[in-house]
């Protein structure tokens, strides 16, 4: 206990007044991120105000060998920011300044606690924006996006976080500031920018981010296509890509999702359809018009019984409304649901969706599918009721089988939510022991004593057994104000 008090005293010294939280009451808001299944009070929460304080916190913790868990807005779905009783949570929320926007270089230099959407808002007067748009973008921070390599609805065309970064400043566990990447298009030495992006806070703490901005497209329109079979809709997705079209977004909802959302949003989705595809095209007005025609042709050929094209911005938003309301709508029709996040090759969509349907019978549970079809990124929502004794276990087994199917089909256990705590056991399904050992060695290269977010993202070789999920009780989605899609 003496050493614990030592660390807390030291942290109080290096931080300004009020920036070190240690009472149970103060720690409570930090007990979990958006994976609320796991709750744990940390040892303390540090709220540094600048890079120097971030470095000082890390140095103090390194000296005392106390683990540090970096945290942005806490909107992550995989438990990447779940505390431990022996660790300090370091919130980067106070580093929330947009340092500069350079319209001619098309870059924004921002602190890690800046919200994703705030970057695009600040760039808007210059006709520019930051493309990656995770569904939590009104709340999630850019530092968290870097840690998770976040995606979004539009990453099919505009890439993930890693494709939209130029440079980082990061602080090592020893408190040393490193400049990673550059404002040029490459940097000498190894591509540490790529390695650090998506490293889930295990390698270093981001203290500054330079992102690439791109010109905002002049217009966007969306095609809503209705299908009488899931297989045909899945094939249609593959056909769009095969036709050489890279739409800005390509999303799918199945029948049970449609049934859940339509009463909510009145988007006009036909209740008797097996699947609805939303395909968004953006660019100049001429470009969009040309692409929409091609998309409609491909979708009709693939068996769409109806294609509606948004006439104006209001209708475009209405078409999207159901997609964006899907998660809360599920909460309304089922006491609980698990949200999975696997990815597969697009050509396997139809067969995997069919396999999931068959699993519904096997596990006696319903599963709704609403997801980034263009990326092959599934978000199966397994509906269950945790008040019924064995439903939790059945739902867990169901989800596990889906993830294992994703890996078997050549995909991944996580497309965009990260591994965190949630999928740490599934890492053993996707990687062999040699790769896992390499991951541990990479971590040691940055963090020799294993103090940065230990126990997340990479399982130790002996813990390849159990499974965990995003658990939503009584429809209480964490951060209910955020759309989840």
């Amino acid at each position: 206990m003496a050493f614990v008090n030592d660390v807390i005293d030291r942290l109080r010294c290096v931080l300004s007044a009020g920036a070190l939280l240690a009472s149970t009451e103060e720690l409570k808001p930090y007990e979990c991120d958006a994976l609320t299944l796991y709750r744990q009070l940390p040892l303390a929460v540090a709220l540094p105000a600048d890079e120097a304080e971030v470095a000082a916190v890390l140095r103090a913790c390194a000296q005392a060998r106390v683990p540090v868990i970096a945290r942005g807005a806490g909107t992550g779905l995989s438990g990447g920011a779940t505390p431990r009783p022996d660790a300090v949570v370091m919130s980067l929320a106070r580093l929330n300044r947009i340092i500069s926007i350079d319209p001619l270089a098309r870059t924004a230099r921002v602190q890690p606690g800046v919200r994703n959407l705030a970057i695009s808002e600040a760039a808007a007067p210059h006709g520019l924006y930051y493309a990656p748009d995770p569904s939590s973008q009104i709340a999630c921070t850019i530092g968290g996006n870097v840690a998770e390599n976040s995606g979004g609805v539009h990453c099919l065309k505009y890439g993930l976080t890693v494709h939209n970064l130029l440079a980082l400043r990061v602080v090592s566990i020893e408190g040393e500031v490193l400049e990673i990447g550059s404002h040029a298009l490459d940097a000498p030495g190894y591509d540490l920018l790529a390695l650090l992006t998506g490293s889930e806070g295990l390698l270093a703490v981001v203290s500054e981010v330079t992102v690439r901005l791109i010109p905002r497209p002049q217009c966007a329109r969306v095609v809503l296509a209705v299908f009488d079979s899931l297989a045909a809709a899945g094939q249609a997705v593959a056909d769009v890509i095969a036709a050489g079209i890279v739409p800005a977004g390509l999303e799918m909802m199945d029948r049970s999702t449609i049934a859940a959302v339509e009463p909510f949003v009145h988007a006009g989705y036909p209740l008797d359809a097996e699947a609805v595809l939303l395909c968004e095209c953006d660019g100049t007005a001429h470009e969009v018009e040309e692409e929409i025609l091609r998309v409609e042709a491909v979708l009709s050929r693939a068996g769409a019984r109806e294609c509606r094209v948004s006439r104006d911005e209001a209708q475009r938003l209405r078409f999207w409304a159901g997609r964006k309301a899907a998660f809360p709508a599920m909460g309304a029709i089922s006491p609980d649901y698990y949200c999975m996040d696997g990815s597969i090759p697009r050509q396997r969509l139809a067969s995997v969706l069919q396999a999931i349907r068959e699993m519904e019978g096997k596990y006696g549970l319903r599963c709704s599918n609403v997801f980034h079809a263009g990326d092959g990124n599934l978000h199966p929502l397994i509906l269950f009721d945790s008040s019924i004794a064995d439903e939790v276990a059945r739902a867990e087994a169901f989800g596990g089988e889906i993830l294992e199917l994703c890996v078997r089909e050549g995909g991944s256990i996580t497309g965009e939510h990260g591994v965190g705590l949630e999928k740490i056991n599934h890492m053993c399904v996707q990687f062999g022991s040699a790769e896992l050992e390499a991951f541990h060695a990479v971590k040691s290269a940055f963090d020799p004593h294993g103090l940065l977010n230990p126990g997340k993202a990479v399982p130790t070789l002996h813990r390849c057994a159990e499974f965990g999920r995003l658990h939503v009780r009584g429809g209480n989605v964490p951060h209910p104000e955020l759309p989840r899609f």
């Binding site: 350079d102 270089a105 098309r106 006709g127 390599n149 099919l156 890439g159 993930l160 890693v162 490193l178 550059s182 404002h183 040029a184 298009l185 490459d186 000498p188 030495g189 190894y190 591509d191 540490l192 790529a194 390695l195 992006t197 490293s199 295990l202 593959a238 056909d239 890509i241 095969a242 050489g244 079209i245 660019g283 100049t284 001429h286 470009e287 018009e289 040309e290 990815s343 090759p345 697009r346 092959g376 990124n377 050549g410 995909g411 991944s412 996580t414 497309g415 591994v419 599934h426 996707q430 990687f431 062999g432 040699a434 790769e435 390499a438 991951f439 990479v442 040691s444 290269a445 940055f446």
Partner: protein, 352 residues
Amino acid sequence: MSELQSLQERIRAAAAATQPLRIRGGGSKDFYGRALAGELLDVSALSGITHCEPTELVISARAGTPLAVLERELSAHDQMLGFEPPRFEGRATIGGAVASGLSGPRRAYCGAVRDFVLGVEMLDGRGQLLRFGGKVIKNVAGFDVSRLMAGSLGTLGLLTEITVKTVPRPRAECTLRFEMDQERALESMARWATRALPLSATAWHDGALYVRLSGADAAVRVGREVLGGEVISDAEQFWDSIREQRLPFFAAAQELWRVSLPSHSPELPIPGPAMIEWGGSLRWLPGPQDSGTLRELAARFGGHATLYRARVNPPEGTFQPLLPAMLLLHKRLKAVFDPQGILNRGRIYPAL
């Protein structure tokens, strides 16, 4: 024994004997990086496309597969490699393209080699076969080691199979030429890039700016109307001559410096000819140059300078030196994947 197994045996034996190996595919980039001692590890027989699925925009090939073979296959499906790597008289392989991290004219607008790498299979310096990433677009499981391999010049492992994302071939393309000096060209490229125009390449050389537009018919047509300029007729040949560094500018240079800068950096105060690509981010200068002065200048603007083509093992080093803390991290990463330090030792820096 398969080709892969025999390479694996070679590495295992070399690791046991601490015998340095120099990895070589088509040998098209022997000039790049510091020259190596060590036994030759020839990867060229490890060849062939292993997976190609047009609906996935994904292709996998063994590392020694010539780019020409990949491009032929992709072209049959109206697809291409978005990073436009140099093919160097057909000798360049996909393994070398990824290991060198060299991208072509499209880089500033479409992405670099590493942006397209989805997965690798590799042999580390112990001869262990490792697989990172995969064949899907979205995959955030584990550290992104496959992208780390791009540009690591074989110092972290021998790439054996690579999966890259491909892009549809643009439906329309057109290259415009504008007579202008360097200062105006830099300003124009920066300004045009802030507008929703389908730019896919830019280059300035010898008093003229060249701008390539690629995309939907309508987008290219509108871009042409907006920008003006003169449409050039031999566009494909022109961009190839830059991609393959066949322009007389490149051939005439005894030494060639590649200066990477923030795009809007001003004209460098260095007399003599220059060639600019990537919207101003890439500046080629013929040598000899004073490396200290040039590197200091590049660093002042936030960039770096590479002695791209030079005499063997120039004392000034091929790549801009790293700060001590970064070099330490690089050495630790090298030790993770190649603890005996046998793979392409010294190709980037003497310490790696």
